[in-house]
């Protein structure tokens, strides 16, 4: 897989793609045969097998090794075969063209340095011809040759060749890809494969073999920013070794490394390699171990970089995603993502169209609710904890990820935007100083994906406090956020079990509620309280407790001004009735006063709105104050 496996200059990994039955496996078989790359007896063995089965010999059988593939004459899974020209060693990757097997095509093509797109001269450009072109672009394979096959079926016509190859070259150009070359061949007969065709004297360009040798092997760029994802931490022989593969750039002994997302720093003490001479640097592709000058607790998933060009930390990113899953990718759902050695959960917040499903032409971003199998879209993901990424164009290996759904890898994406809340660590030391000893509120907010707040419902018994609090909690929770409700049930039976309902006890109860709310809010939760809290002074005290020591958490007093007669008519717990009969003392609204707030942040008469509207009005006020 690139860049490592294809790193040496005399090696090239080449994938052959295109629509089903356009001749991919046949070309590979023919290429191997013409270059003398088949082992002794292989050709004769396949001819004999075909004769025994009473079917014509197919060059495709060289790579179509599965019984099911030979039975159906279709490539199901990708295959790899080695061959060499005088110029260099090749790994030829055969990719299936049938639409059922796009995941196998992706598996084959993702590791390639260059691609041949085969197009049947007679059938012309088909759905998978375009889809494969699009996927090559997304997978980062940008050296492409257009190979128009089965020229015998169109009478070796130069005009057909020009039309078919021109149409496909225009399609690629629309994707921003320039085809290196276009060539007319007949793979079965070997025309323009290894040798020149006598059937097409009008064609004076390259053969397939010459086109292959014209591709350039990837050149790893050791000058890119360093990215060393921690793959594992070993404690063999009482030493702590961080193991990982350099995904970009170069690491040297003595370098100061910044680990994100933890923000820790240390210098590289040694680069470890068993049974090998000492090594003082390692570059992109190297699987190494390092020891550090100071002992740090870092785990798998941390990304090491230099201080000067660190990656981006974010809880939101936008990517071009191709989807392979049988179940569609759906907005609002959470998926597992794997990016380098990081694994995290993220919610799909937006999907936009980038390719028309029928024409496979590029289109502008119409909003979608999902991506079906084999579709491509622009997807925005929000994560709970901060993750470490790069734009794909900056550092490809840290700018791409896979999506896991139901234990299966169901898609892949390349990051095109790191979101508005991204923190780009700059070279200034101020930005990389980590707070010692205390996790800051800001750090907690980044992990939660929102800020803390207290929504303080107040109102008569039956005014709708508990109902509204519960509905609001659910609504906030559904966004992937952290709400919690404090109400009589979890205060009166526990922390305040020793208190009655006198004015003094009510005041003490409210003080305790406010202190508990403060603790939760400091953790970053959105606390929703549902207490009658009838006295103005008690609510003022709660507000003061929350604002103490400059704690900057919004305190939202939400007054439910539902009229007494409505509340009494609702009487959900039959308490008004009991109070009227004198069975309950100090009952607010009947035998104890309720002091309406003079300036509540929200005032709502729940007899005027249904529950959804009421929740909506609270959210409308709250959301802008807790969003990051």
């Amino acid at each position: 897989m690139p860049p490592a496996a294809g790193a040496a200059a005399d090696h090239l990994r080449l994938v052959v793609v295109g629509h089903v039955d356009h001749g991919k496996s046949t070309l590979i078989g023919r290429l191997l045969y013409d270059t003398g790359s088949l082992f002794d007896g292989k050709y004769e063995q396949l001819v004999a097998i075909a004769a025994r089965r009473g079917v014509p010999f197919e060059f495709a059988n060289v790579t179509d090794a599965l019984q099911a593939e030979r039975d159906q004459n279709v490539t199901i899974d990708t295959s790899q075969i080695w061959f060499r020209t005088p110029r260099r060693q090749y790994v030829l990757i055969d990719a299936p063209g049938h639409k059922e097997f796009v995941k196998n095509m992706v598996t084959g093509a993702a590791s390639a340095d260059a691609a041949l797109v085969l197009i049947d001269a007679h059938e012309g450009v088909q759905e998978q011809s375009r889809r494969h072109g699009y996927l090559l672009k997304l997978l980062g394979v940008d050296q492409i040759a257009i190979v128009v096959n089965k020229m015998d079926l169109v009478g070796y016509s130069a005009e057909v060749f020009e039309r078919v190859s021109g149409e496909y070259a225009a399609f690629l150009a629309g994707l921003g890809v320039t085809a290196r070359v276009a060539l007319p061949i007949c793979a079965r007969d070997g025309d323009n494969v290894a040798g020149r065709s006598s059937q097409m004297p009008w064609y004076t360009g390259m053969t397939v073999l010459e086109a292959l040798d014209g591709f350039t092997p990837p050149a790893p760029d050791a000058d890119k920013p360093l990215r060393l994802p921690v793959q594992d931490v070993y404690r063999f022989d009482h030493r702590r070794i961080l193991a990982g593969r350099v995904e970009s750039g170069t690491v040297r002994v003595g370098d100061t490394l910044l680990f994100l997302p933890s923000g820790k720093q240390a210098t590289v003490k040694t680069i470890e390699r068993w049974n090998a001479p000492p090594q003082f640097s390692a570059s992109v592709g190297d699987s190494i171990g390092i020891t550090l000058g100071t002992q740090l607790f870092v785990e798998r998933g941390e990304i090491a970089s230099s201080l000067q060009s660190a990656p981006t930390q974010t809880t939101e990113f936008t990517a071009h995603v191709f989807w392979l899953g049988r179940k569609p990718l759906t907005t609002g759902r959470r998926y597992k993502f794997k990016l380098a050695t990081q694994e995290f959960e993220g919610e799909i917040v937006r999907v936009a169209q980038v390719m028309d499903a029928a024409s496979l032409e590029q289109v502008d971003g119409r909003e979608l609710t999902m991506l079906a199998v084999d579709q491509v879209g622009e997807v925005t993901v929000r994560t709970r904890q901060p993750i470490v990424v790069d734009l794909h164009e900056r550092v490809p290996n840290l700018g791409r990820f896979v999506v896991v759904d139901d234990l299966e890898m169901c898609g892949g994406g390349t990051i095109v935007d790191t979101g508005a809340h991204a923190t780009l660590f700059a070279a200034t030391s101020a930005n990389i100083t980590r707070s010692v000893g205390q996790v800051t509120r800001e750090q907690r907010n980044i992990r939660n994906g929102h800020k803390g707040a207290v929504v303080w419902f107040t109102g008569l018994p039956g005014s709708g406090k508990s109902t509204l609090a519960t509905a609001l909690e659910q609504e906030i929770f559904n966004r992937g956020w952290q709400p919690t409700v404090l109400d009589g049930d979890n205060m009166r039976f526990g922390l305040s079990a020793d208190l009655g309902f006198s004015a003094k006890d009510r005041a003490e109860n409210i003080r305790r509620v406010a202190e508990v709310a403060r603790l939760f809010a400091e953790l970053g939760a959105i606390v929703i309280t549902a207490f009658i809290s009838p006295y103005r002074n008690d609510r003022l005290l709660a507000r003061e407790i929350l604002g103490r020591e400059g704690l900057d958490v919004p305190f939202v007093e939400a007054y439910l001004s539902t009229p007494l007669d409505v509340c009494e008519a609702r009487d959900p717990k039959r308490l008004y009735a009991k109070a009227r009969r004198g069975e309950i003392q100090d009952f607010t609204g009947v035998s104890s006063p309720f002091e309406p707030p003079e300036r509540a942040e929200i005032e709502l008469d729940t007899s005027q709105f249904d529950l959804e509207e009421s929740v909506g009005r609270v959210l409308e006020y709250l959301l802008p104050r807790v969003k990051m």
């Binding site: 040496a8 599965l66 099911a68 790994v91 992706v106 993702a110 068993w274 990820f401």
Partner: protein
């Protein structure tokens, strides 16, 4: 081939070995005593800084060429390895084997290797097996994945394999799934020998011409493995020979040739 290319292959394999070790609690590595799994063993020591942090499993059919076992026991001693030997005792006791004329070659492989492995995996509860197969060995292995899921009974669904790209592998599994990990998949036979030469890895002497003009190119059971004509007496002569050979690596392995899809069938059922 440039030494850089071997380093690139090695880096990839180490990455996969470390990924497997990080993701699976109960791992074991199959060691057939042959050149490939011995290179794999060497790569594990490189990945884990001289350690092999999981047991090595050798499936002993009792028909192995005698000197293979001597070599095995010497390496285990010198490298301080944890060796687990699996045998299909029931079938060996019943004598229903190919050398006894009571089973075909494929049936014999199936019971003495595949079933013996299954019994050991069940007994030891291994969730992952690291195996040294390569894509260039034979065409069904060319279609393998680095992380290849198997059913509870070790069956391989070759027609519905998980995608694998960008160095990400299927590492999420339902409980009870068994996984094969193939860190050598991208190596060729020639790469293996070049690497053995570069790293001076000790291999079984059966791979060299002992003066008869023949050597083993692939090691297996004595009754089903025949030497090939070759005068290569050391690793560097093997490397030179392989650069120009036109004979397939497993040409000396008789069980592959019993029928058109003999090997595919064996592999689908759980063979290595």
């Amino acid at each position: 081939m440039s030494p850089d290319h071997l380093t690139a292959l090695e880096n990839e394999s180490i990455h996969i070995l470390r990924e497997a070790y990080s993701k699976f609690d109960s791992l074991a590595m199959l060691w057939s005593i042959g050149k490939d799994s011995t290179v794999l063993l060497w790569l594990a020591r490189r990945a884990f800084f001289g350690h092999v942090p999981f047991p090595l499993v050798h499936i002993d059919t009792t028909y192995k060429i005698a000197s293979m076992i001597e070599y095995r026991d010497r390496v285990v001693r010198e490298w301080n390895l944890q060796l687990v030997v699996g045998k299909n005792e029931a079938v060996l006791a019943s004598g229903v084997t190919f050398p006894n004329g009571l089973a075909t070659r494929v049936e014999c492989c199936s019971t003495l290797k595949k079933d013996a492995l299954q019994q050991l995996v069940d007994q030891k509860k291994y969730s992952g097996l690291i195996v040294g197969v390569r894509r260039d060995e034979e065409p069904t292995r060319a279609k393998e994945r680095y992380f290849s899921p198997r059913s509870q009974t070790m069956e391989w669904d070759a027609t519905d394999q998980p995608p694998e790209f960008w160095n990400q592998f299927k590492t999420d599994f339902a409980p009870g799934t068994h996984i094969r990990i193939h860190p050598l998949l991208h190596w060729t036979e020639l790469n293996v020998w070049e690497y053995i030469e570069r790293e001076a890895i000790p291999v079984s002497p059966l791979y060299f011409d002992d003066g008869t003009g023949h050597r083993y190119r692939s090691l297996g059971c004595a009754p089903c493995t025949t030497p090939v004509a070759s005068t290569a007496r050391n690793v560097s002569e093997i490397v030179t020979e392989l650069r120009t050979t036109r004979t397939a690596e497993r040409a000396g392995r008789a069980q592959d040739q019993e029928s058109e899809n003999a090997f595919e069938k064996l592999r689908r059922d759980g063979y290595m």
